[in-house]
């Protein structure tokens, strides 16, 4: 299993020079993206399914394109800061007499671990599928939420 780390997340870990190169490459990508009008993207982890992760103040949203995957064929588990998404994509059996011209869609099993940058409230995780796109809503743990601090003047 591959755990995806956020290399741009502030950590005290020792970082290799390759990390630094990767960071520079990403910065360049973002710069050129500004000219071409495209959204910059991080290098993909290369693990199925590809996911987009977004956040707002209270939740993380993990989205994956899984056309034709039934929700009961999915297994989602959450511990602390990591989300494990596994399942299987099966393609319905077609008539035996069918002769194929093209066969590009693939079936098989998958398992992916996604490490999120904050602790999660594991009891309140929700998932739903819509038009072949799976959305997992992961609420941030209370301790990880930003807090407004009022400054008092004496």
């Amino acid at each position: 299993m591959i755990i995806r780390r956020f290399s741009d997340w502030p950590t005290w870990d020792w970082r290799s020079p390759l990390d630094e190169l990767e960071r520079m490459r990403r910065e360049l990508d973002r710069l050129t993206g500004d000219f071409t009008g495209r959204v910059f993207r991080l290098p993909s982890a290369g693990v199925f399914p590809l996911v987009n992760v977004t956040e707002d103040q209270n939740n993380f949203y993990v989205r994956a394109e899984l056309p034709g995957v039934k929700t009961d064929a999915l297994d989602i588990s959450v511990t602390g800061e990591t989300l494990t998404l596994s399942g299987e994509r099966t393609l319905p059996e077609e008539s035996e007499k069918a002769s194929y011209h093209r066969r590009e869609r693939e079936a098989g099993s998958f398992s992916r671990v996604i490490s999120l940058p904050a602790r999660l409230d594991v009891d309140k995780v929700k998932a739903h599928a819509e038009d072949g796109v799976l959305t997992i809503v992961l609420p941030k743990a209370e301790s990880a939420k930003p807090r407004q601090i009022a400054v008092k003047s004496s």
């Binding site: 982890a45 069918a98 098989g108 072949g132």
Partner: protein, 136 residues
Amino acid sequence: MTESETKSLQAKEKKEVATPAELTRPGLVFNPAVDIFETDRELTLLADLPGVKTKDLKIDLNDNVLTITAEETSLEQPGEKDVFREFQTGTYYRQFSLSDTIDQSKIEAVLKDGVLRLTLPKVEAATPRKIAVKVG
């Protein structure tokens, strides 16, 4: 499909393509993965179109050229910020030329869970007939 049960899926990035005619809306254009198979009676096309709603799917058959255009709606809400992004949303576009044996009046299309199933029945005359060979 017994062999696929053990296979693990590989991540594939959506490939950007250039459309022959420029689209009016700006954005990325992708080629959806398709399966096409044929039986005696019909030709079936299955296409992966995740994130496409029925109203945003256009199927056009003109001069035996079948065009599928589907616009994907991003589910992201305005307040969400990117943490990381591995796939993009855009328009799916693909064209096929068909033989003239398709009965254009009986074409059926069903879009379910992001998979399009397009059934293209053959015209009666084109369905193969068994030819008995007599022993002379």
